[in-house]
């Protein structure tokens, strides 16, 4: 098998169907490569000698070298011939953007798809697609995402594998807006060859990727076992977060037995995720919450969460949210209680949630966090920093970040409000402290971190 690295780290790329015509896919893709790709670019189009300042090749065989990567954006009926020419040329990695294959539901489409699979096998080529938006790679500059009315996210460490091209595009745009960095995103369309399993394996070994996010509708038949095997290995290196769409199952499954009638599609996927150490999320909100926590937080070693707050009510909401997902919010033990008592004014509450009350200043936070961060019976700290209280100047932001770095424990923050809150939140996030507005969302995201941490500690042998 040819490794996938030619897709993500090519030295040269041929763009079959490159065109100077505005609004065309072949133009958008060429522009993407010109903007960011550092390797050699070979536009191919029989009608031009030059496109956007680059020499254009009329035929694939005219390209001066076998291109590492080929991107095909021409009408479906011409794809097989282009593939053969690429195969002859020595190219072994192809992204087929073109639609018009099995997804059309027509006999012609299906036959065309079978033909390209056959050609690819003959030459030992790997294919991503057809009918896909392909690859967005922030590190190598490979970018076939031809959608122009979108922002592209900054370089970073989240990889995204998506069965839906439109969702991949939307999510990239959303992540750009929220400043979340992406390593590589892939949407494989009809996945006649490269699929979730191959991509997971590749991203597992990719040092630019720290969290893998997947949107799955369904795996290819019989690929499940290998998917679990690969995911198990990758999970030990980095978290895999999955959103499984199409949970309601297929009513059409012939119920051969009692068990089959109860199984449906989704229950088996759920089991697979669990066995492979994959973190499953149930909503778009949770998906991005969990990704943010995984990006910034260390593993969580136990269930005990301490809350430091300047608002009693929010402390209680958080306690409810955390306990309802299975965390402990333990009562402050006597020695800690004594210590806190000695350093806080008498009206502060030293029981967990530790309530510094509305007249707090930055200083109180700093002192309490200092004590908590050093204790082995504290597994995570949540700082509630409602910025509306007059005494807070904001210097505690740096301190919270410092405590988080030094303690090796998850330290998260919760702020609720308008500009002041958003400003505090931004500063904290920039320093790696994950911030939430919703106690419930914080609790669920932290729970995902704990579930993953438990999986790791159980399987480290």
């Amino acid at each position: 098998m040819v490794s996938l690295s030619k897709f993500f780290n090519p030295q040269s790329v041929a763009i079959i169907g490159a065109t100077p015509k505005e609004g065309k896919v072949g133009r958008a893709i060429l522009e993407n490569f010109i903007a960011k790709f550092k390797g050699r670019i070979y536009p191919v189009n029989p009608n031009y000698d030059e496109i956007l300042g680059l020499k254009c090749y009329r035929k694939i065989r005219d390209i001066p070298e076998p291109p590492d990567l080929a991107v095909i954006a021409i009408p479906a009926p011409s794809v097989p011939e282009a593939l053969i020419e690429l195969g002859e040329k020595g190219n072994r990695a192809v992204v087929i953007i073109s639609g018009g294959f099995r997804e059309t539901g027509t006999k012609e489409g299906a036959e065309l798809e079978d033909r390209i699979v056959k050609i690819a096998r003959e030459y030992g080529m790997r294919i991503i697609g057809p009918n896909c938006i392909g690859i967005f790679d922030n590190w190598s500059g490979v970018d076939t995402f031809f959608t122009t009315k979108m922002r592209k996210p900054p370089k970073g460490h989240v990889a995204f594998i998506s069965q839906s091209g439109a969702f991949a595009t939307a999510l990239m745009d959303w992540m750009a807006y929220h400043g979340i960095g992406v390593s590589r995103a892939i949407s494989y369309g009809n996945k006649v060859d490269v699929d979730d399993v191959d991509l997971l394996e590749f991203l597992g070994d990719d040092d630019k990727t720290r969290v893998i996010l997947m949107y799955i509708e369904g795996l290819k038949p019989s690929r499940g076992r290998l998917f679990i095997e690969v995911a198990k290995k990758v999970s030990m290196k980095k978290p895999i977060v999955v959103y499984k769409a199409g949970k309601t199952g297929r009513g059409s499954r012939a119920a051969a037995s009692h068990t089959a009638a109860l199984a449906g599609d989704y229950s088996v996927y759920k089991a697979a995720f669990k066995q492979a150490g994959i973190i499953e999320v149930d909503s778009f909100d949770e998906m991005m919450d969990v990704v943010r926590v995984f990006l910034d937080q260390p593993l969580m070693k136990g269930d005990r969460v301490y809350i430091v707050t300047d608002a009693g009510g929010v402390g209680v909401m958080l306690t409810d949210a955390l306990t309802s997902v299975g965390f402990e919010v333990p009562l402050t033990p006597p020695d800690l209680r004594e210590k806190l008592r000695s350093m806080l004014p008498p009206h502060c509450i030293v029981d967990n949630p530790i309530d510094l009350t509305g007249d707090t200043d930055d200083e109180r936070y700093v002192r309490v966090l200092e004590v908590l961060s050093k204790r082995s019976d504290v597994d995570a700290i949540v700082v509630v920093a409602l910025p509306q209280v007059p005494g807070i100047k904001g210097v505690f932001v740096d301190y919270i970040a410092k405590i988080k770095e030094e303690s090796g424990k998850p330290v998260l923050a919760l702020t609720i409000g308008s500009e002041y809150s958003i400003e505090t939140s931004k500063k904290l996030q920039e320093r790696g402290v994950t911030v939430f507005e919703s106690p419930e969302r914080l609790a669920r995201a932290l729970k995902a971190l704990r579930t993953y941490s438990l999986y790791i500690s159980r399987h480290l042998k």
Partner: protein
Amino acid sequence: MTTMSPREIISRAISEGRFKLLEHEAYSIANYYGIPTPRAVLVKTPEEARDYADKVGYPLVAKIVSPDITHKSDVGGVKLFINSREEAYNAVKEILENVSNRAPGARIEGVIIYRMAPPGLEVIVGGIRDDVFGPTVMFGLGGIFVEVMRDVSFRIYPITIEDALEMINEIRSSAILNGYRGQPPVDKYALADIIVKTSKLLAENEEIEAVDLNPVIAYQQGAIAVDVRVILRHSGKQH
């Protein structure tokens, strides 16, 4: 009881065009994989029933075994609470007569006699072959928990004992397994063992489409699969 290997049992069924194994065949395959079932004997005559009754133990159940009879009770093919050699003789005699009257022409393999399992907590272990993931095992509590609440958990082969214990504890009603209203806790390890073995049974026999162990009766010590159904794939069906 039959000493045929799973392979022989399956080939024979397929050659006879049967896609559901007979009771004694299913028991035999389960036993081959170490899944406990009631001790059972397939007898052909009332005399044989009398000879084997003591060895099997009481109270006994006697059931007609025929590939052509689905609803055994409807044709008078089931007798429960048999407590002696003579009762066993009479029960089998009656069953054979009933069946020849009410289902004439049905192929008769014999009558299976086995000891009724003492009451305990009823659970279900089921195995299916998933299109994507292959052999998959389900666990749930019997009765309304599965039927109404659909309170079940799944794991995919290969399944370790730890996986199986985790799936047992994962169902919402798992507290019932720990004992309630004075009932002792049940042997989760024995159940986990059955789960692991069921997954192996499926993995090693490609022709088997599904297995239902329903019910498995769990005790403070041990568990036993009282009813075992093995369904084969229809030939030509691709997975």
